[in-house]
């Protein structure tokens, strides 16, 4: 048990709507080991993002949670904003779906990475700048020394997502949560970003939660899979189990919806 990096038990998220409280995530449990990738799959609205946001205490106003979320044995659920700040971006970081709207248009990408690095690690701006350039080089942004002073709108979609990944990894977190990081990108760029994430994850040894509605993507990247449907955990197991012997009709339906490319991608 103690070797598991990240443990979620019976996580329930309740949001308040006009028609009263609704459970958008119901009794979800999973673990992520060091060096391991967990894929969370489900159709739109199944509660994938809510699960991810609950982990970092970033749920919308009025949302309540119950259950347990532990990183290295430390409970995170129910902590105050102030207590979570040193963990956010530092121990657990997140990459969001839409890289353009996820970056502040008024500041250079360099500053947006630097402010995070210095919040957690301190140090001079000059030292941080060097770290940022290295982080950008690590995600293969060409000419990083110049690009660091450019604004988000000056980057292409794929490059922006690389910036987000560089940002997410610059404090060497132990867990990276990627919430549909490729959905807003076109297909060739999707593949590049996936490859980059998989590679960085294996070299840095970061645990990863990869959220998507695309089973084909999961099969290429995840060792464990959680399938969600309208807030319920439908199926949970190793990738082989889930793909070769799905227990649930819903999973089978999702698998059928995937053109049979998962074999190719997995190989």
């Amino acid at each position: 048990m103690s070797d598991e990096l990240f443990v979620v038990e019976d996580l329930t998220v309740t949001t308040s709507t006009g028609r009263g409280p609704v459970d958008v995530v119901k009794n979800v449990s999973f673990t992520v080991g060091r060096d391991e990738t967990l894929g969370i799959v489900g159709e739109s609205g199944s509660g994938k993002s809510m699960t991810a946001l609950a982990v970092l205490g970033l749920l919308p106003r009025g949302a309540r949670t119950s259950g347990s979320v532990r990183l290295d044995g430390t409970e995170l659920l129910g902590r105050s904003d102030r207590e979570l700040r040193p963990i956010r971006g530092n121990a657990i970081s997140m990459v969001f779906q839409d890289p353009l709207s996820s970056l502040n248009p008024y500041y250079t990408v360099g500053l947006q990475i630097e402010e995070m690095y210095r919040t957690h690690r301190g140090g001079s701006r000059k030292a941080a700048r060097q770290v940022v350039i290295e982080a950008l080089e690590q995600v293969r942004i060409p000419d990083a020394g110049r690009r660091i002073d450019q604004y988000p709108h000056q980057f292409s979609g794929g490059m922006r997502q690389r910036v987000m990944i560089a940002m997410a990894l610059c404090c060497s977190p132990s867990l990276l949560i990627a919430d549909e990081p490729t959905t807003a990108l076109d297909v060739t760029v999707q593949a590049q970003i996936l490859e980059l994430l998989a590679e960085l994850q294996s070299t840095t040894g970061t645990g990863m939660i990869f959220i998507t509605h695309d089973l084909a993507v999961i099969s290429s990247i995840a060792q464990r899979v959680l399938v969600m449907r309208s807030g319920d955990p439908v199926e949970y197991g190793t990738a082989e189990q889930v793909f070769s012997d799905p227990q649930h009709d819903y999973t089978r339906m999702l698998l059928d919806a995937v053109p049979r490319i998962d074999d190719e991608v997995a190989s």
Partner: protein
């Protein structure tokens, strides 16, 4: 960038010329004969004729307009009287040089406008910000209800009420008199306080609502969530990821409002009897003093047009997305 500025300034000149011509034609066509007005009650046809020729009124209208423009740039002569550049003519009512009327009254108007602007920015932005942060609380609801009410109070009503209560009844403030700051700073402040408040209230209410909604929108932006996910907090996240994006559009609106302030100053200065440009405009219209009306109109147009250019330049500096396109 320099080319952009030069092109904009060229545009400014064209617009101002058009405004000049338009104003000139309107007053030429619609007004009673200036010569008759100047001549007064004891008037003979010969006198009217001589006034006409001194003012150049018997020339074709475009020639007159050309003379008017030349007067602004190079000065002109009315018979034996030389009017040095920039010459805007002489008041039909008082025979004063219009240019010196403007320059002597401008400081009063600037004091009223700048003081009001500072007041409404502080009150509006801070009020809106607090409301946004305390969204849905007792404070927020009260402040926004007041702001909604404040926008709809006409400022002449507010001016008269304040004057009645504070000056006449309670006698806590002196009657506004536009003293010089250096002579008596306290009196100066007390004198201008009511005009500032009256002019600022409407804008402050608008800006409070605007700031509140902009900040609330920004707090639900994805990049604000990213900033939270990065572990930022406190003043840093507020300043960079909430205020900067929320206030940048307000800076633009402020520039326009400030440039167009003469309309508000007209009422405020008239009600409080302050001798500024606004009161000058009101008086000259009441007495059909054409050279003064003309000059005040041009001045107002000048502020609006220049204000527009400044706003564009400032916006270019504030928003990196615009900056790169125009560079």
């Amino acid at each position: 960038m320099t080319r952009y500025v030069l092109a904009r300034l060229g545009g400014v000149v064209v617009i101002l010329l058009a405004v000049c011509l338009f104003t000139y034609l309107i007053f030429f066509k619609l007004s009673p004969d200036p010569a008759v007005m100047i001549c007064g009650k004891t008037c003979t046809p010969e006198r009217i004729d001589s006034i006409r020729s001194v003012l150049g009124l018997n020339q074709p209208i475009l020639t007159q307009f050309g003379e008017f423009l030349r007067g602004i740039v190079a000065g002109r002569d009315y018979g034996a009287v030389h009017c040095p550049a920039p010459c805007l003519g002489y008041s039909f009512q008082t025979n004063e040089s219009v240019w010196s009327m403007l320059t002597s009254r401008l400081p009063v108007s600037i004091t009223v406008a700048v003081g009001a602007a500072v007041l409404w920015l502080l009150a509006g932005v801070i009020g809106g910000l607090v409301s946004a942060v305390k969204q849905g609380t007792w404070w927020d609801r009260t402040a926004m209800a007041l702001a909604l009410g404040g926008v709809s109070v006409p400022n002449y009503v507010l001016a008269l009420v304040l004057q009645y209560v504070l000056v006449v009844k309670l006698q806590v403030l002196p009657f506004p008199s536009a003293p010089a700051f250096g002579d008596d700073p306290v009196l100066w402040f007390e004198s201008y306080l009511m005009p500032w408040v009256v002019l600022a209230v409407g804008y402050a209410c608008l800006y409070a609502r605007l700031t509140r909604s902009n900040v609330i929108d920004t707090l639900s932006e994805n990049y604000y969530r990213t900033a939270r996910a990065k572990g930022l907090g406190g003043a840093l996240i507020m300043r960079r990821h909430a205020l900067r994006p929320a206030l940048t559009p307000i800076a633009t609106i402020f520039g326009m409002d400030f440039a167009g302030l003469l309309g508000g100053a007209l009422i405020t200065e008239t009600v409080f009897g302050l001798n500024g440009i606004g009161k000058l405009a009101a008086d000259s219209i009441a007495k059909n003093d054409q050279p003064v009306i003309m000059a005040v109109t041009l001045l107002a147009a000048f502020f609006v047009v220049i204000g527009n250019v400044v706003v564009d330049l400032v916006y270019t500096a504030l928003d990196p997305r615009v900056r790169v396109v125009s560079a």
